[in-house]
């Protein structure tokens, strides 16, 4: 059953961004995040915003979907911004009782809001346009060179695939158990002590189910002779197209420009 939980969902589509190689998208998103976290001036904001907007528009995912994924995280953005506004020292613009607002604080607040929003949007752009399987395949490929120094690329990717695969399952299960306990009179809006006690009635069954599932999955994998990454071939071989190289080159260019010019 699909519910209104959007963040991290894959939205199947045929757009230009969907068809990019997952490695390209990983690179694009990480590089753009670096650029966004590095900008300090209005021009930097404008350039990075334009650059990201192009890809978000090209993904052809409805704005509503981006919004419903962002909304739950807005509280984090607002709190971070308020911290910056009230606690960054600088020239005082406004003072009332213990509260002081400085010019540097306002600037940092605005910048932090922008950075966090862009990071959230980029993360969503990646998950909306890349199926979990593609995503972990891409990660595995990116990590493969490091397996020489002992990083188990395949195993890490497998762990991620399983985790991603089961997040919605756990959400749904948690949802179902919560409802069952609510219909037995559990109250999660009352005092925090009572709520904490009632929380046990959800967490315990959820863990029990999780361990059961883990056992079952391990058995099922062993029964199918799963032995890890060694000697394993792939059904879908990833191939970089000219478009992928093009996007990577442009991304590199924009990010280097923004960082090196100190915008």
């Amino acid at each position: 059953m699909m519910n209104s939980f959007t963040f991290g969902q894959y939205i199947p589509g045929e757009s230009y961004v969907h068809s990019l190689d997952p490695r390209t998208k990983l690179y694009l998103v990480v590089a753009a995040m670096v650029a966004v976290l590095g900008v300090n001036t209005l021009w930097g904001v404008v350039i990075t915003a334009l650059f990201i907007a192009i890809f978000i528009l090209a993904a052809r995912v409805p704005a509503r979907v981006f919004w419903s994924g962002t909304r739950p995280l807005l509280i984090v953005v607002v709190i971070t911004a308020l911290f910056q506004i009230f606690f960054v020292p600088g020239e005082v613009i406004y003072r009332w009782w213990l509260v002081t607002v400085t010019d540097a604080g306002l600037k940092m607040g605005a910048l932090m809001t922008y950075r966090l929003l862009m990071v959230i949007l980029l993360a969503q752009l990646l998950t909306f346009t890349t199926s979990p399987l593609q995503l972990t395949d891409g990660l595995e490929r990116v990590l493969r060179p490091f397996s020489k120094v002992g990083i188990p690329a395949h195993e890490l990717a497998m762990i991620m695939t399983i985790a991603l695969r089961f997040i919605p399952v756990f959400f749904e299960e948690g949802h179902k158990i919560t409802r069952a306990q609510v219909s037995r009179g559990a109250d999660f809006r009352g005092g925090w002590l009572k709520s904490a006690q009632n929380l046990v009635s959800i967490i315990v069954p959820l863990f029990v189910r999780a361990f059961h599932r883990a056992d079952e999955l391990a058995l099922a994998m062993e029964a199918r002779c799963y032995t890890g990454g060694e000697g394993r071939t792939r059904l879908h071989v990833m191939v970089m197209s000219p478009a992928d190289y093009c996007v990577m080159a442009v991304t590199t260019g924009v990010v280097l420009f923004v960082i090196l010019s100190g915008l």
Partner: protein, 285 residues
Amino acid sequence: MSIRFFNVGFRYARGLPWEKVALKNINLEIRRNEMLGIIGPTGSGKTTLLQLMNGIEDPSEGQVLIDEGDPARLRGREITRLRQKVGLVFQFPEDQLFANSVYDDIAFGPRNLGLTGSELEDRVRWAMEIMDLNFSELYQRRPQTLSGGQKRRVAIAGVLALKPDYLVLDEPAAGLDPEGRTALLALVKRLRKELGMGVVMVSHRIQDIISTCDRVVVLVAGEIVKSGSPREILQAGEELSEIGFRLPPMNKVLQELKRFFPHLDVGLIGEAAIASEIDRALRNQ
């Protein structure tokens, strides 16, 4: 006193690309002292319908009234009180057992209602008795050490301990062995007979429903396509087979024989009744 649905519709994920209409245009009344069965294939909206019955979901269109109270308009304590009237037993309810002892798990609901001391113990004892669980033998046991059928009954006792006026069960016999299935259905039947509860039961097995319920509703793709007594439902057996329902084997035989014996009564329930009907038809020939 009844639970009533007026033109109820329900959608999941409103406004998102994966929006889904789960129910449309549902009109339904569930009275106390009545056993209503709901049958429908997977994804027909059965579970959603049940969740609307105790206000755990609010309808997207129309109105649901529980004994004249509208759960969509109530808040806080009042809705808790309204929900207590309608006990909801989810599918595989044993997944929700969490306490260290059978006693504590069943006492969870009544404790939330504020019961303590001997009153609480009486309530737990009562619920266990109804579900055919031996109190002195089982109350200290860890739920995880019980058999599947026992766990299921402990979970249902945990809902019964709220003393609801209505009990709503989602596939109560799913995953049990044939023996456990028969035993559980017999217990459910007793709830209505001895306690006068309104009981709603969902199943995709027609057999379970027609042998226990007074009235049957057939749900297909979120709409009620048929309702009536088990007899009436069986008489429309051909229609149901076309939609993809599987009739009880004996009724399937009757259905097939009707082609040769047009006067055969296909609305019969139970093997004995069906056997004597076939016998009669053969003799008359």
